[in-house]
């Protein structure tokens, strides 16, 4: 009889307690094989013969890829030099890895394209402003999201436009001028680079349209609705006027044509414009797709499915070669603007599907509740549905942005030099032709793309987790 069972069979213990020990047994340490690092290694590395083989294979794979990469990009790399001579193994007299002086020499081209060197501070200001406005928008805990969003999505694009192009659009005619085909008060001269005749046209058109809005709403909806309609119209025109004013006034910056833009600048301009423009259009299309009006619904579905069904490159070709034929002949559109139109059409369709996902996730009770308190459908959307739906789809929007960021590379096929296009152009420079130039360039561009996309995807994942947690209670 072993001593562990001895107390249980002792005669003084009553039968009812016979199988219950009165004292707590001392805990024994778990066997070595079921805890700690030994178990971990066994379970995760060497559990069975196939596991051992897999582990060995994995270690071999790491061994043949990682050390050579480190050796190429860091240990054997050339860090300084003025031309290809610095990176030729014959000249250096040793094995040569990455040719970093090539990247340093081309860095300006990769970041600014051929933007004039004396004007590059403008690009830097745009980059800095974008970062300053975007960061607080991304950090959930910071207050003032509304103001921040208005600044980023409303004011920043105008400021960036003026800074990058130099503004001074030289607007010719507004509504009346365009419809009548002649200038109002032609020859009234210019003030600060703005044509006076355009602004007279603008003021007269604004007054006219506001009056029409007042009269129509008075007839259609009754006298009490008319002032509100007139006010809305007037404020929309004043807002438009402010935007045009900012772009039209000559602020004294030299004009920089878009064909001089390039590199990271073009990549970011296209991606940010695409996402900013696609957001309002995507919301409209998503609402249109769920509309009860058959024509609105059909047109939205056709639009969305058409652009989603074709590759982006055909959309860019459409915008570059086909769209100009559809517009009045005297209208010549800037090359970058054409690409932007294509990207905006394409991105809007994808954004619409993302937003639709959010709209579908709103429980029916929310709609019913809004209707029960008597909200008209426009207010129901603005106050109840959209705030919830858009919050749900922020991760989807970020994922869309990642896709768009990667897709901007395609503009190099329509001869606009983004980051990748500038890199490809840099490869053709005979001054830097060396055996490792290509790998260095691809390594550098790859790191930039990876940092941007990976960073954004991590952000979106963190956000998703946060929203998930908020959803649960």
């Amino acid at each position: 009889m072993s001593d562990t069972t001895a107390p249980l069979t002792a005669p003084r213990v009553s039968p009812a307690q016979a199988y219950v020990s009165t004292t707590l047994r001392e805990q024994e340490p778990a066997p070595v094989a079921t805890r700690g690092p030994v178990l971990w290694v066994r379970r995760h590395l060497v559990g069975s013969v196939p596991q051992v083989l897999l582990t060995l294979f994995g270690i071999w794979l790491v061994y043949v890829t990682v050390p050579p990469l480190i050796k190429f990009f860091l240990i054997d790399a050339v860090w300084t030099g003025t031309n290809r001579e610095a990176c030729l193994p014959e000249k250096v007299g040793r094995e040569v890895g990455a040719c970093w002086p090539f990247v340093w020499a081309k860095l300006d081209q990769l970041i600014y394209g051929f933007y004039p060197a004396s004007e590059r501070w403008r690009v830097n200001v745009v980059y800095a402003l974008g970062a300053i406005l975007l960061l607080p928008l991304l950090i959930q805990q910071l207050p003032g999201k509304r103001l921040n969003a208005i600044l980023f999505f409303g004011v920043y694009p105008v400021v960036a436009f003026v800074l990058l192009t130099g503004g001074n659009l030289e607007m010719q005619r507004f509504l009346i001028g365009s419809f009548s085909g002649s200038d109002l008060f032609a020859g009234a001269g210019t003030v600060q680079g703005m044509r006076v005749s355009f602004w007279i046209d603008f003021v007269v058109s604004t007054a006219l349209v506001t009056a029409i809005a007042y009269l129509v709403s008075r007839i259609v909806a009754g006298p009490e609705a008319a002032p509100a309609a007139a006010k809305t119209t007037l404020s929309a025109f004043v807002l438009l006027g402010l935007v045009i004013f900012a772009m039209d006034i000559d602020v004294g910056l030299p004009q920089v044509e878009t064909r001089l833009w390039g590199g990271l600048l073009v990549t970011l301009v296209i991606a940010v414009t695409g996402i900013t423009v696609s957001l309002p259009f995507g919301i409209l299309l998503a609402l249109g797709r769920r509309s009860k009006l058959p024509l609105v619904k059909a047109l939205s579905i056709i639009f969305i499915e058409f652009w989603r069904g074709v590759p982006l490159i055909t959309v860019l070709f459409f915008a570059t070669y086909m769209l100009p034929l559809f517009l009045p002949g005297r209208l010549t559109i800037d090359g970058l603007l054409r690409a932007l139109v294509g990207v905006a059409l394409f991105a809007s369709a994808y954004m619409a599907e993302v937003v639709r996902g959010g709209l579908q996730a709103i429980p029916k009770g929310q709609y019913e509740g809004a209707m029960a308190v008597g909200l008209p459908s426009s207010l129901m959307l603005r106050l109840v549905v959209l705030p919830q739906a858009l919050k749900l789809v922020i991760p989807g929007i970020v994922n869309n942005f990642i896709g768009l960021f990667k897709d901007t590379t395609l503009v190099l096929i329509v001869s606009i030099f983004d980051l990748l296009g500038s890199m490809r152009a840099a490869f053709t420079d005979p001054n830097w032709a060396s055996p490792t130039t290509l790998f260095t360039g691809f390594g550098f561009a790859g790191i930039i793309y990876f940092v941007f996309c990976f960073g954004m995807s991590r952000y979106s994942m963190a956000l998703e987790k946060r929203l998930d947690r908020a959803q649960r209670h």
Binding site: F317, G329, K406, T408, F450
Partner: protein, 431 residues
């Protein structure tokens, strides 16, 4: 007591023309929208007419019969410069379908392996698969295509120093590797063994990939017929086996029977008609390879990039699909007495597929659409031949871009129709 009207509205007043009447409002909105659309279409049409006349560009599809006059580096059907644009269009379409088809197969293989590897208990494998997924998904596909084309394939040695692939170079490598780290005792016999194997027949150099080519002589059709017959037979056997199992509970190894049929029948047919298919292996003569099939480097780089890029996305889809099947399912299957294999085959995979298939199809579509990026490295696909060269030569932007978009759109619509049918078939039947 005075009359009390218990029901009915007060005498119908004149109907007010009110903006708040939903019926009226919706018709007004739709009429305005329709007018805008008509105006848009009309003005596009009028502008296009005026612009085409001004620029002197022809319109209509007559150009399809004109002589193309350009060569194409990869043609699946006979083509030469004197043939028409229409023929060039078909060549391009077939090239697009070829790279998309092979890309889908390769990407699926990569994706399933990597997706399962990401769920592996083995941390090394898991980390490697995660690194693969993160790197490939976060680099633009065009970047990857250009990387393979410019940085990898064009820096390979010329034909005379081609890299050979096969068992001989593999064992040679192992042998010299072992000798290199001081295990000559082991390495030498392996190197000797390698020397006894036949020389490699797959080569890679800066002009592309050279592989053996099957040569079909008279009677080859018999093998094809045998293959079709075998596929049909195994399908029928599968149906019968399923029916019998459901009726009597007796299993029948339908899979293995089908596999045996598919392998054995064509072999038997080949033997019966006197082995009409021979393999032509490439040989290095002078400065280039003679014989065999040369795959152009543009194709190789496009295929590799598309498969690797899409494979990363498929891996994530597969992983989330497997994770979506709750653990209780496999526990329940085990407690019913199913072993690991049948549990996976009959319980886990069918449920995971329901989650996996819809996003998987959209990845297949993405891959097909991304194949148009081959234009950046000069792969002669539909886009490069039609929207590239043909557009340059004829200038008929409207017709050409419309046709190109229509082709991709048709592929998308067909795929999503099949998808919808499948979804309906596998959807959960809720009570």
């Amino acid at each position: 007591m005075s009359d009390v009207r218990l029901s009915g509205p007060p005498a119908a007043s004149r109907r007010r023309w009110s903006w708040t009447d939903p019926k009226l409002r919706s018709s007004v909105i739709q009429i305005v929208l329709a007018l805008i659309m008509v105006w848009l279409v009309w003005s596009f049409y009028a502008n296009a007419q005026a612009n085409l006349a001004r620029l002197g560009i022809a319109s209509g599809f007559g150009f399809l019969d004109n002589r193309a006059g350009f060569a194409i580096s990869q043609t699946l059907i006979p083509y030469n410069e004197s043939m028409s644009y229409g023929r060039a269009f078909v060549v391009g379409l077939l090239n697009t379908l070829l790279v998309a088809f092979l890309g889908v197969i390769l990407a699926t293989l990569i994706g399933f392996v990597m997706g399962v590897a990401r769920l592996s208990k083995n941390v090394v494998i898991k980390a490697l698969a995660s690194a693969y997924v993160e790197i490939t998904r976060n680099l633009p596909p065009l970047f990857q295509i250009m990387f393979w084309y410019l940085a990898v394939l064009s820096t390979l040695p010329g034909p005379r120093q081609s890299w050979g692939f096969g068992l001989q170079p593999l064992f040679n490598g192992i042998g010299s590797g072992l000798s290199g780290i001081g295990l000559g005792v082991l390495g030498a016999p392996i190197s000797n063994f390698a020397a006894s194997l036949s020389a490699p027949s797959v080569f890679v150099n800066n002009r592309g990939l050279v592989v053996p080519r099957p040569v079909f002589e008279d009677g080859s059709m018999a093998i094809l017929y045998a293959l079709i017959a075998a596929v049909v037979a195994s399908f029928v056997i599968g149906r019968w086996a399923k029916k019998r199992r459901e009726a009597t509970g007796k299993p029948f190894p339908a899979f293995w029977t089908g596999l045996a049929l598919i392998i054995a029948l064509p072999l038997a047919a080949s033997y019966a008609v006197g082995n009409p298919v021979t393999i032509e292996t490439p040989e290095l003569r002078g400065f280039n390879f003679v014989g065999g099939l040369r795959v152009i480097p543009e194709f190789v780089s496009l295929l590799l990039a598309l498969a690797i890029y899409t494979g990363g996305f498929i891996a994530e889809i597969v992983r989330s699909g497997i994770l979506a099947v709750s653990k209780g399912q496999s526990e329940a299957a085990h407690s019913l007495g199913l072993r690991n294999g049948p549990t996976l085959r009959l319980v886990i995979i069918p449920q995971a597929m329901r989650v996996i298939v819809p996003p998987l199809t959209s990845q297949y579509l993405n891959l097909t659409k991304n194949s148009s990026l081959g234009v950046a490295v000069g792969y002669p696909d539909l886009f490069a031949i039609f929207a590239g060269t043909t557009l340059n030569q004829t200038g008929q932007a409207i017709e050409i871009i419309a046709v190109t978009m229509a082709v991709y759109l048709t592929i998308s619509i067909i795929t999503s129709a099949i998808m919808g049918w499948y979804n309906k078939r596998v959807a959960l039947v809720e009570r």
